[in-house]
Each structure stands twice: as structure tokens, then as C-alpha cells.
């Protein structure tokens, strides 16, 4: 196993000093407690701290840097419930060397975790408003903690509309939870896929095709969107056409991150560092950069 390339005793020595634990450059050791295959190329990892007394707090929308020893480190959104301070859940899609190593981890393996980083969704601003959540593909992962937050404090939000799109039915994440959320009277969930098969009796089309169908009060609503940029851009434009102002539309941006703390510049997007200033931004801040090539 890749995670075993470095001897466990050496890893423990690395983390033995409390001083080191406070250093944001140094990862803390976490053990893979569970591995769940979400789709053919995506898994959810449940992580517990090697030090059982350690609690981990985060805000919905934040991310961690996950370090596979001997392979490398990458930024992955936290996809579990923020109320659970004992366990971390990360949903990882295998698309490169590090994410491939992460998806190949098995229960009992150890990885390094740095974080949480980033600002997260401005859920305090969403309270008392209609909330629109739009996710495309893996974009549901950083939005799932937000959905948990809504369901835990349902009376603090008004109408909640969720739209989730994936390429095909087999690419849908969290299938069991989707069934539960779909039946819930507290939120309205629409799921759509780009391409269906004979077993699929739900909606087919991009998430944009569901936007005309959602109900909200444009003067008192907020939207949280995560997915491919072209999708987020199209959804934001459609919401604007329906009267929602761009400063009430939030995107979670994705860029190649290295340090996670705004020091290395790898994740620069216009004048912002996505890791430090984001990853969640109001669309009003991003609008003028999104049509610029190579930004």
C-alpha cells in the first residue's frame, strides 16, 4: 500500500510535538476508517484522527489538504457533516496520481490531513431566506455539509430548492441520501442526468434545464452553486434573469492548490487566491474574470 511506504514509527515521530501540531504546514495523521465506492471512479473516505482525543471542526464548504505519504498532497472538499467532530468524510474522484492513490486507500491506512482551509458557504447570510443549492457532478460533495446544516436547522431557512446534475445515473453521488432527500417534505430536490438509460425515469438534461422550475423570492433568496465553471456561469445567468442579484449568488471555485494558505500562488484567480480568499465567492466578484481566457 502506498500509504505504508514510510514506516508508521517515523510518521508518529513527525507528529509527536504539540508545537508541530499547530503548524499549518504539517499534516496530522488520520486513519481511514471506512471506504465507500460511490461511483466507478469516486469513493468516500471516512477518516478518524490517529489521536483519539482530537476533534476536528470545520464549516460547510471548507476543504482539507490530504497527503498520501510518498505520493503527494491535494485539496479535497469536506463532504461530511460539520456536526460530527470525530470523523471527517472526503469524497474523492480518481483523476490523477494523488487522487488515484487516495481512492485506492483501504481501511486502516494512514494519511496526513492539513486544514480546514478556505472560507466555506456563508450560511449565516442564508438564514431567513429562500435557499437555492445547485450542484453538478462532484460539486455535490462540498454542498452536502450545507444540506446537512439546513436539515439540522430547518426552521432557520425559508424554502430550500436543490438541483443536482450528473453525467449518467451511475455517476450520481450519495444515491441513498438522494432518495431520502427526495422524499423529504423539508426540501425540494430535483435530480437530472445528461444521458439516461432505460432504467432511468427521472429528468434528463443539464441542471440549467431545471432552473425555470424552481420557486424562490428574488428579493429574499441566496444561491450556492458548485460544479464546472461553465455550468455555474449558466446557472447564475439564469438566476439573474429571474431577478436574483449576482451578489446573492455564490460559487465554490476550483483551482490547483498547493499550500492551501495563500502563500504559493498556484490557485490564483484574477486578484484572488482561491484557497485563501475562497473557495466560495459571490458571483459579483468573479463575473468579470469568468469570461477571460486562462484566468
Amino acid at each position: 500500500m502506498i500509504g505504508m511506504v514510510i514506516k508508521m514509527s517515523n510518521i508518529n515521530q513527525l507528529f509527536e510535538s504539540d508545537k508541530n501540531r499547530e503548524n499549518p504546514h504539517l499534516p496530522l495523521p488520520f486513519i481511514v476508517e471506512d471506504r465507500f465506492q460511490e461511483t466507478p471512479d469516486t469513493v468516500s473516505l471516512t477518516l478518524v484522527p490517529e489521536n483519539p482525543g482530537k476533534i476536528f471542526t470545520f464549516s460547510p464548504g471548507q476543504f482539507n489538504m490530504l497527503y498520501v505519504f510518498g505520493v503527494g498532497e491535494c485539496a479535497i472538499s469536506i463532504s461530511g457533516n460539520a456536526m460530527n467532530t470525530q470523523r471527517l468524510i472526503h469524497t474523492v474522484r480518481s483523476v490523477g496520481k494523488i487522487s488515484n492513490a487516495l481512492t485506492n486507500l483501504k481501511p486502516g491506512d494512514t494519511i496526513g490531513v492539513r486544514g480546514p482551509f478556505g472560507n466555506g458557504w456563508p450560511f449565516a447570510e442564508a438564514r431567513g431566506k429562500d435557499l437555492i443549492i445547485v450542484a453538478g457532478g462532484l460539486g455535490l460533495a462540498p454542498l452536502r455539509p450545507m444540506i446537512y446544516e439546513v436539515l439540522s436547522h430547518r426552521d432557520l431557512y425559508r424554502r430550500v430548492e436543490i438541483v443536482y446534475g450528473a453525467r449518467t445515473p451511475r455517476d450520481l453521488l450519495y444515491k441513498e441520501e438522494l432518495q431520502v432527500w427526495r422524499k423529504s417534505s423539508e426540501i425540494r430536490l430535483q435530480v437530472t442526468v445528461d444521458i439516461g438509460d432505460r432504467e432511468w425515469y427521472g429528468d434528463i438534461g443539464m441542471v440549467t434545464s431545471r432552473i425555470p422550475d424552481i420557486k424562490f423570492d428574488p428579493s429574499n433568496s441566496i444561491a450556492f452553486i458548485c460544479g464546472p465553471e461553465i455550468m455555474m456561469h449558466s446557472v447564475a445567468e439564469m438566476l439573474e434573469l429571474r431577478g436574483l442579484q449576482s451578489n446573492n449568488v455564490y460559487f465554490s471555485m476550483e483551482r490547483n492548490m498547493k499550500c492551501g494558505m495563500g502563500q504559493c500562488g498556484h490557485c490564483q484567480f484574477g486578484p484572488y487566491f482561491v484557497c485563501r480568499d475562497g473557495p466560495v465567492f459571490p458571483y459579483s466578484k468573479l463575473e468579470k474574470f469568468m469570461s477571460v481566457k486562462e484566468v
Binding site: R93, V95, G96, S99, G136, G137, L138, G139, G165, A166, R167, D171, T192, D194, I195, G196, D197, R198, W200, Y201, G202, D203, I204, G205, M206, T208, S209, D213, G227, P228, I230, M231, S234, E254
Partner: protein, 159 residues
């Protein structure tokens, strides 16, 4: 399939967003041969390659549009919900359906006769223009969506 009605002024008595602001003259003319039809789950509404002779107003339910190929399992590429319209192949040569339409829920539609529409629009091109202006955004939306489906935007996301 259940045929519910044969009403000489069917379209003047129904509410559908596509028909808003059309003249009564058009609604009465287009009601000729118009039928209210019901389809059960999995029932085929029309099949790819068949002659396209209807324009459908979807009143209730959900319809899946499918593409079949001999060496490929059929795939559903789009769904059409209530308050939407379906079928413009009767406007474009060779006037054959390019997809198969299947009811995914119990579905109720109003099927307009394409021959009647062609004949009326030749006599009243101003109504034909309005009809095309109403239909073109639906086609443009479908084209936009197809482009996004083609680039498979989720493929690189999360890289």
C-alpha cells in the same frame, strides 16, 4: 393510448403557456383534428423514423426522448415535462421523427395536426411567424443543452 376528445374548439378551452396570446382565430383553426391523448408509463408516443404529423402540447406527465441504434442500447437524451411542447420535425424535411418519445409517467398531451397547421400558416403567415418565435427559444434551449452534453462538462471537473 387513450383518446379523450374530439372538440372543434379544444384549444380555446385549455391553458398552456405555449398558447398564450395567440388569436382566437388561430386557436379555433388549430383545434381541427386536435386530440387530447393519454399515455401510460413506457408507452411509445412516436418512434424515430416515422412520419412526423403532430405537434404536442404536454399537459401533464413526463416524456423521455430516446435515440436507438442497432449496435447500441437506447439512450434517453432529454425529458419533456408538463407545460412544455414537443415535436418540430413536421416543420423540417424529410418530416420524420428523429427520436423516439416514450411516456415516463402517466402523461396527457394535446396533439395538433401538422397538416392543419401548415395549411393555416400559409393563409396567415403572421400567426406562423408568432408560432415560430414561440418555438425557436425551445429549439435554441435544446441546442444549448446538447452542446453542453457533447462537451461532457463533468468529465474534467474535479481534476
Amino acid at each position: 393510448m387513450k383518446n379523450n376528445s374530439k372538440d372543434c374548439a379544444l384549444l380555446t378551452n385549455i391553458k398552456h403557456p405555449f398558447l398564450e396570446n395567440f388569436s382566437e382565430r388561430f386557436l379555433i383553426a388549430a383545434s381541427e383534428n386536435a386530440r387530447e391523448l393519454e399515455f401510460n408509463v413506457n408507452e411509445i408516443i412516436f418512434s424515430r423514423g416515422e412520419r412526423a404529423e403532430k405537434f404536442y402540447l404536454v399537459m401533464e406527465g413526463k416524456i423521455g426522448l430516446e435515440i436507438d441504434a442497432p449496435d447500441h442500447p437506447s439512450v434517453r437524451v432529454h425529458t419533456v415535462d408538463s407545460n412544455r411542447v414537443m415535436g418540430w420535425s413536421w416543420l423540417v424535411p424529410p418530416y420524420k421523427w428523429t427520436v423516439t418519445a416514450r411516456a415516463l409517467k402517466k402523461t396527457r398531451v394535446i396533439a395538433l395536426d401538422a397538416f392543419v397547421l401548415h395549411r393555416y400558416f400559409k393563409l396567415h403567415p403572421e400567426d406562423g411567424y408568432l408560432f415560430c418565435l414561440r418555438l425557436l427559444p425551445v429549439i435554441a434551449e435544446r441546442l444549448d443543452e446538447t452542446r453542453l452534453q457533447l462537451i461532457n462538462l463533468y468529465d474534467r471537473y474535479g481534476d
